[in-house]
């Protein structure tokens, strides 16, 4: 860790300054994650409600959010468990749906090669569509500016929003309707768009790349489930994209 940054110039106490920096980075991450926190919470509440209504005990509902931590697959699992499917199918379907994180993690970990492996192991648990998208757009000029504490701030905020939202939904499943997350689901799409547009303004070819990928995903969705459609569209779209986007 290169904690010897500009702080040390004015502050001869290296140790305390590095703590200050770490805290500032962590808080910066929490602040950055706010759109994800706001986006996750109502969806997590919906999951808590649906899971409870399916008959899954509250403890296991919350445990799933903290252990699996992958939205779409949890809804699917609650659905399957509700239908009485109690076995390997649920685990296998989860694997299929969540495999897209492998591709995302490959790209993100390539970008974060400057961080020690011991820190990247726990951080990798926090990779979701949303944290990946947010961190990928961070520090485009110099990825080395991204610290583990910043990433931890982003990921822990998102993680607890998901876990605590699930708990609240499970607790209030008798009172609140499952449709609570429906209107809010546009929020995460809006965040994706908000992350994409600045890059498109810099280089319109990135917009073409994203559009091709979206159209591919639409086509793959006809033949594959949504998890594989995203994997295939991302792989093929980014491959085509390397020929479209010049420079760098």
């Amino acid at each position: 860790m290169d904690t010897k940054n500009s702080y040390t110039v004015n502050n001869p106490l290296n140790i305390s300054s590095s703590i200050v920096t770490k805290r500032a980075e962590f808080l910066k991450g929490i602040k950055k994650a706010l759109p994800i926190v706001i986006g996750y919470f109502p969806i997590a509440v919906s999951f808590g409600v649906i899971s409870a209504q399916t008959g899954i005990p509250l403890f296991y509902t919350v445990l799933m959010s903290f252990m699996v931590y992958a939205g779409a697959s949890q809804f699917m699992a609650a659905n399957m468990l509700g239908m009485g499917i109690l076995g390997f199918e649920v685990v296998f379907a989860t694997f299929i749906l969540n495999f897209r994180h492998f591709i995302m993690s490959m790209s993100l970990m390539n970008k974060l090669q400057h961080l020690p492996m011991l820190q990247k192991v726990p951080l990798s648990f926090g990779i979701t569509d949303e944290t990946f998208a947010l961190l990928s757009m961070e520090g485009n000029d110099d990825a080395k500016d991204i610290t583990s504490f910043f990433i931890a701030g982003v990921m822990l905020s998102a993680y607890f929003s998901w876990g605590l939202g699930t708990l609240l939904g499970g607790l209030l499943s008798m009172v609140i309707p499952a449709s609570i997350g429906a209107s809010m689901s546009i929020g995460l799409y809006a965040m994706f768009i908000g992350l994409l547009i600045p890059s498109v303004k810099d280089n319109y070819r990135i917009g073409i790349l994203a559009a091709i990928s979206g159209i591919l995903c639409y086509i793959f969705n006809i033949y594959l489930n949504s998890g594989w459609a995203i994997v295939m569209a991302t792989l093929v779209g980014s491959f085509i994209g390397t020929f479209i986007v010049q420079g760098e």
């Binding site: 649920v90 809006a190 965040m191 768009i193 969705n221």
Partner: protein, 102 residues
């Protein structure tokens, strides 16, 4: 107890794909085209995550999600912070649903 093992299995098969690249990408010097491909992945992933998923915001009326996305594009073009883009787009969708779904 069976439920616990299903959740544990789900947790393991979800974590492994997230974790493996930490080791694969450790001090790996990729050829230029490999780097280029990995750098294009976030933009391709964003495209695939946005479309066609955004059409399902209101399952019976895909136009609602599209217009919510259009609002997000307009707000993003104004260089607003992401949080305001999110709120603006949620507000747009709520209004649309209020008027279109009686």
């Amino acid at each position: 107890m069976q439920l616990f093992f299903i959740i544990l299995g789900m947790a393991i098969v979800t974590f492994i794909p997230r974790l493996l690249p930490v080791f694969i990408m450790n001090n790996l010097k990729l050829p230029a085209w490999g780097n280029k491909w990995l750098k294009a992945i976030p933009y391709a992933a964003l495209g695939a995550l946005i479309f066609p998923g955004i059409l399902t915001v209101e399952a019976n009326l895909p136009i609602v999600g599209l217009l919510g996305g259009l609002a997000a594009i307009l707000l993003a073009s104004l260089k607003l912070q992401i949080i305001y883009i999110v709120f603006g787009s949620i507000g747009t969708v709520m209004l649309l649903k209020f008027f279109m779904l009686q």
